[in-house]
Every structure is written in structure tokens, then in C-alpha cells.
Amino acid sequence: MIKMKNLKNVLIGFTLLIVIWQLIIIVGNYEEALLPSPLKVGEAVLSIILNGTFFVHLQVSFMRFFIGYLSSVVIAVILGLILGRLARLWAIIDPIVQVIRPVSPIAWSPFIVLWFGIGDIPAIVIIFIASFFPVLLSTVSAVRKIDKTYLRVAQNFEIKQPQLMWKIIFPASFSYIANGLHIALGAAWIFLVAGEMVGAQSGLGFLIVDARNSLRLDIVIAGIIFIGICGLILDKGIKLFERWVEKHWGGLESSAN
């Protein structure tokens, strides 16, 4: 029942979108080459699905994305758990992080090419950077905000490191960390396009950039649609993961966000 209603809403939503889009074309009197019609884009979507291009690019992008994101997350969480407990070290590192964080991964690209060459690695590195800081910061702040009660319980029962870390601190801060993972996932996915602009010969980002350079704006929009849908699926995926962990680990108060 709920599924059906959702589907109906999605259909209404997208029909509306397509109508508005077609109206813009008619009213604005744009050239097909400059703003393709929904029909043309539909054809492009079909064509790159049918000739398999889409799946090739998708696979490559997902591979890069997951390598970049997962390595980033693992490193950032471990670092965050440690730094969250070492207030004095964090006081020194924090200003550096705060200055580096607001810098777009795009700005780093000359150095990324220098250190990481072209092809897969720069894309992975850009995704890594994009997700690293949100996860690191949310982990550190999660650890620092842990309900003191849990730490006192641990003290009371004489639970020492490293058990303190994985029995108390990690689970206690997890729901907040998960929130960071969630935000980082979105941020990283958004930088996929930027990441695949540097010498990559494949991937959804490349598909868009290449289509743009080949003046195939219909494929650009098709690519945008694919990126949007994949991003949405990833988002739902991590939400499911969060919920699974929550269920599995019992009553972690549902994440603050």
C-alpha cells in the first residue's frame, strides 16, 4: 500500500518536472543543441543503457567511489576515535584541519596530479578528501560528546584501554559517527564528477565531462540523471545500514539528525 502511494508520488513528481522542462524549452525557444528536450534526453538515456556504456562507467565510478570513500572512512574514524580522546593533541591538529577543510578538493588538483598521476587514483583521492573531513570531525566531536555516564560505568567496572575503546567509546559514539558517514557520503558523491575530470577515461563523471566536450548535452543530462539516481540509491543504502546497525545494536538513540 505504502509502496504504491510512494510510486504514485514519484510519478507525479517527475511528470511535473518533465512538463516544466518542456515548457522552458518552448517558452525560452532554446536550440536543441543548447538545451535538449526531455524526449531527446530520454533517447540518450535509453541508448547509453542499451549499448552498455552506462554500466561500464557506472562500475568504474562505483569502484573508485567505494575505494575512496571506504578507505577515507576507515582512516578518519580510527583517527577520530584516537584524537577524540587526546584533547591536547587535537588542540594542535584542529586548527590545521579547520583551515584545510573549507578548501575545495578541486583546488588541490594540480598537486593531486603531481602526487597521484592520472586515471583512477586522482578520482579516488578527491573522493577521499571530500569524505575525510566530515567523518574525522564528526567522529572527534562524537567521542568528546559521549554521555559521561558511559565513561563512569566503564571506570566503575575498571574497563581499561583498548577494551574501553571498542566496548564503550565506539558504540557510544556510533550513532553520531554514522551521521558523519552519511553526510560524507553525500559530499563525496558530489565530488565524483570533479574527481573524474582529471585524466580519467571512464566513469560517470567522465561521461558527463566528455559528453559536454563532445557537445552532447542530451548525454550530459542523462549523466546528471544517472548520478542523481545513483546518489539517491547510495543515500537510501546508508540509511538502511544505519537502521540495521541501530536495530542490531539495540537502542542507540536514533541519530540526532
Binding site: 558511559y150 571506570q155 567496572f157 577494551q163 566496548k167 564503550i168 539495540g250 537502542g251
Partner: protein
């Protein structure tokens, strides 16, 4: 209860907090002894320093003047021998009921099997033998408090400190748990120090009641309740103690009549 040396000995404890640089004496020269197996209640208004005192005794807060001894030894860190029952139960929400109760045993060198059996035993004792795999949030407040009680007793500590253990429960559940507590305590012969602002609770449970005043916190009265337990809440003797305490807190009738015409 016995003529042994006291299990807890509090000697001239003074605690000062600094609020915006201003020193504020919360506890002033508090001294008392607790004998093994006693159940002591500390009764006082909100904010008078009850939790602060308990934290000091438990070793969670070490900054103070004066000395606290647990079984003759100076308390300088929290230990398993003196377990604190937190105001909000302090259960780990990511662990099942059983695993919460197993927690304190995990580093004691006991085998997994032993740990499990001991935990189950105490959970059965508090009547939660059928909730082993539930998570804390799936339980009512009363059940959560029972898990916390099981977790406190499972390592058979010498002392249990309780910070308003039943305050968040409704009256009916509260009565029920109070009875449970008495039975377990008598069976295990654990020393219990209980903080509360519920007069009836203090009378119903305690061997002795310390009344704490506010600003600064001082023990200004000690009340011995020699009658055997369980006590009859509607008995005349019970009423007598109520009246004593009411009078002490000037609460039989409100202190300041309410201003109705401004």
C-alpha cells in the same frame, strides 16, 4: 549491625565548586561511618549536594577536602568493590540486557560460561529471566532499573551506591522495586548507600537516614529506624517517622504562605 570496622568511613568532607570563578561550598564537613550490611538513606532537597557526595564516595570525583575510606583504604579511584547505580540507570543501550549484566564480569578472568550463568542468575533474581535478549530501550523504566540492579549485584560488590534509583518510576512500580531491593540486599548482605528525596522511600528502606541540608550541605540530623523490614507503609510507626522528617524539613505545612494579592 556488627562490631567490625566500618566499611565506609567519611571524614570531614568539604566540597567546593566554582561557578564563574565564585567558590560555592556544596558540602561542608560531612562525616559518618557505615557498617557492613547497612542500608543508609541520604535525604535532601534537589540541589543540596546528594549526588556530589555519592560521587566523592564512589571515587568518581577526587577533588575534595577530607578523607574517604572504603574498608580502611583511601578511595582514590572508582573500583568494582563499590558500584554506583546511576540516576538514569547507566545501561549501555547497544548491549542486550544479558550483555549489560555480563559487562562487569568480562575482565575478571571468569570463563564465558561462568559469566553467562552468573548474569542469568541475577537477572532471574530480579524477575527478568525472560528478557535476556531484549535491549534496554525495549523495557519500561522499572525493568531498566532492575537490569541496573542486577548489574550492580552481579559482581558482588561490598558497597552499592544508589542515586535516586526509583525517582523516575510511577508510585506502584516504585513500591514493588523497593520490596525487591530489600530482599536482594538481605540475601546478599550488601552495604547500600541510597540517595533520595522521597521521604517514604527513606523510611521504608533504611536502617538509618541522614538528612542533608542545603547551602552548604550538612548532615543536620540522623534518624535510626530500628523496626524490622518489610515495613507497613500505613502503620502508625511509619507515620511517626514521617512526621519527624516533615517537621525537620518544615514541610508539614508550607514555609511561606503563597502571596495571593500582589
Amino acid at each position: 549491625m556488627t562490631n567490625q570496622s566500618p566499611i565506609i568511613s567519611v571524614n570531614k568532607i568539604t566540597k567546593t565548586f566554582f561557578n564563574r570563578g565564585q567558590p560555592q561550598k556544596i558540602l561542608d564537613q560531612i562525616s559518618f561511618d557505615v557498617q557492613r550490611g547497612e542500608l543508609i538513606s541520604i535525604l535532601g532537597k534537589s540541589g543540596c549536594g546528594k549526588s556530589t557526595l555519592l560521587n566523592l564516595i564512589g571515587g568518581f570525583d577526587l577533588e575534595k577536602e577530607g578523607e574517604i575510606l572504603l574498608d580502611g583504604q583511601v578511595v582514590n579511584q572508582p573500583s568494582r568493590r563499590c558500584v554506583m547505580l546511576m540516576q538514569n540507570y547507566g545501561l549501555l543501550p547497544w548491549r542486550s540486557v544479558l550483555k549489560n549484566v555480563e559487562l562487569p564480569l568480562e575482565n575478571t578472568g571468569m570463563s564465558k560460561k561462568e559469566i553467562r550463568e552468573r548474569a542469568k542468575y541475577y537477572l532471574h533474581m530480579v524477575g527478568l529471566g525472560d528478557k535476556l535478549d531484549a535491549f534496554p530501550k525495549e523495557l519500561s523504566g522499572g525493568m531498566q532499573q532492575r537490569v541496573a540492579i542486577a548489574r550492580a549485584f552481579v559482581i558482588q560488590p561490598e558497597v552499592i551506591l544508589m542515586d535516586e534509583p526509583f525517582a523516575a518510576l510511577d508510585a506502584f512500580t516504585r513500591y514493588y522495586l523497593q520490596d525487591e531491593l530489600i530482599k536482594i540486599q538481605e540475601k546478599e548482605n550488601t552495604t547500600i548507600l541510597l540517595v533520595t528525596h522521597d521521604i517514604d522511600e527513606a523510611i521504608y528502606l533504611s536502617n538509618r537516614i541522614f538528612m542533608l541540608s542545603a547551602n552548604p550541605g550538612r548532615i543536620y540530623q540522623e534518624l535510626k529506624i530500628p523496626s524490622s523490614r518489610p515495613r507497613d507503609r500505613s502503620s502508625l510507626q511509619f507515620q511517626k517517622y514521617r512526621e519527624i522528617i516533615f517537621r525537620n524539613f518544615h514541610f508539614n505545612h508550607p514555609i511561606a504562605p503563597i502571596e495571593l494579592n500582589v
